[in-house]
Amino acid sequence: MANKVTINEDVCKGCGLCTTVCPKKIMVLNRNKLNTKGYNPAMVDDIEKCIACGMCAIMCPDSVIKVEKE
């Protein structure tokens, strides 16, 4: 069972700060999706690699990310 990262996509502003701190480089902006505000929301590309360090969530200025460890 993988760790869990929940992203509130419609509050995300697509700032990309989370993508700069993920040690596994699995946090990206979803270029194929626009949220209701017109931003590309963050997404986890390959959750299996997630180590639930929480750094993406710590960095997020808008508290859109919830990280849970199995």
């Binding site: 700032c15 990309g16 700069t20 701190v21 929480g54 200025p61 808008d62 508290s63 990280v67 849970e68």
Partner: protein, 250 residues
């Protein structure tokens, strides 16, 4: 499953009005989390400034007062003297604290008011569209220094922590930054310590937080983190400038 990180309950559901990648949001989280962890949400009163964070009263989930520009430390003094067991903090930008509010900043510090000041220093005036701040760097291009801040015309930036550390009334003054995870962790520790000081009745505590303004610096959020590190940190070194209790072995 065990929660590693989630939104603090001391933040409301309101969407923050800050620009994408502005680090105000990170600082809000550190303040909210500290207040929750110290168990003082029910006694907390925050004072919102004039500036990008004028709407902070919408974002924190406890009593808030909106103050005139620069006057937050005086408003804080009034609240704290009126109801001494409140946990009072101001949240101010560089114009609010170091331009129009300079007198209120210095005098609340020298009086040793038992309050916390969170000073968000991003070297620019964000809300009004990017004018020079007292903390703007020499050579920095802003809306009102289109040729770069010139020493001959606009003088030098002001180092608030260093200045306030000279005042006997100050218990604790530390400068931190939120441009990286290690720095965010240290910033959290400093902010929590400032609030702990108030809980313990130790007196005036200020945490200056180097912060980004991607929009008015003309950079992406990620580039802004680097600009902070490369340009602001040499002028505004991180560290503890005053810790009276530590010095006195308390």
């Amino acid at each position: 499953m065990q929660v590693v990180y989630q939104k603090s309950p001391a933040l409301t559901d309101a969407t923050l009005n800050y620009c994408p990648g502005c680090t105000h949001g990170i600082i809000h989280k550190l303040v909210a989390e500290s207040i929750v962890e110290l168990g003082v949400v029910d006694r907390a009163v925050g004072i919102a400034p004039v500036g990008c964070s004028v709407l902070a009263y919408e974002f924190f989930n406890f009593d808030m007062v909106q103050a005139p520009h620069g006057r937050a430390p005086a408003v804080a003094t009034g609240i704290k003297r009126a109801v001494p067991d409140t946990i009072v903090f101001t949240y101010q930008g560089d114009g609010d604290l170091a331009a129009i509010g300079t007198a209120e900043t210095i005098h609340s510090a020298t009086r040793g008011e038992n309050i916390v000041i969170i000073f968000v220093n991003n070297a620019i005036y964000g809300m009004t569209g990017g004018q020079m701040a007292p903390t703007s760097l020499v050579g920095q291009v802003t809306q009102t220094t289109p040729y770069g801040r010139a020493i001959s015309a606009q003088g030098y930036p002001v180092r608030v922590c260093e200045m306030l550390a000279t005042l006997d009334g100050v218990e604790y003054a530390e400068r931190v930054a939120v441009n990286s995870i290690p720095n965010i962790r240290k910033a959290k520790a400093a902010i929590k310590k400032a609030f702990q000081n108030q809980v313990d009745g130790k007196g005036f505590s200020i945490v200056e937080v180097l912060s980004t303004c991607p929009t008015n610096w003309g950079l992406t959020p990620a580039e802004a983190l680097d600009w902070l590190k490369d340009n602001m940190m040499p002028v505004y070194p991180l560290g503890v400038f005053k810790d009276r209790s530590a010095r006195e072995g308390k």
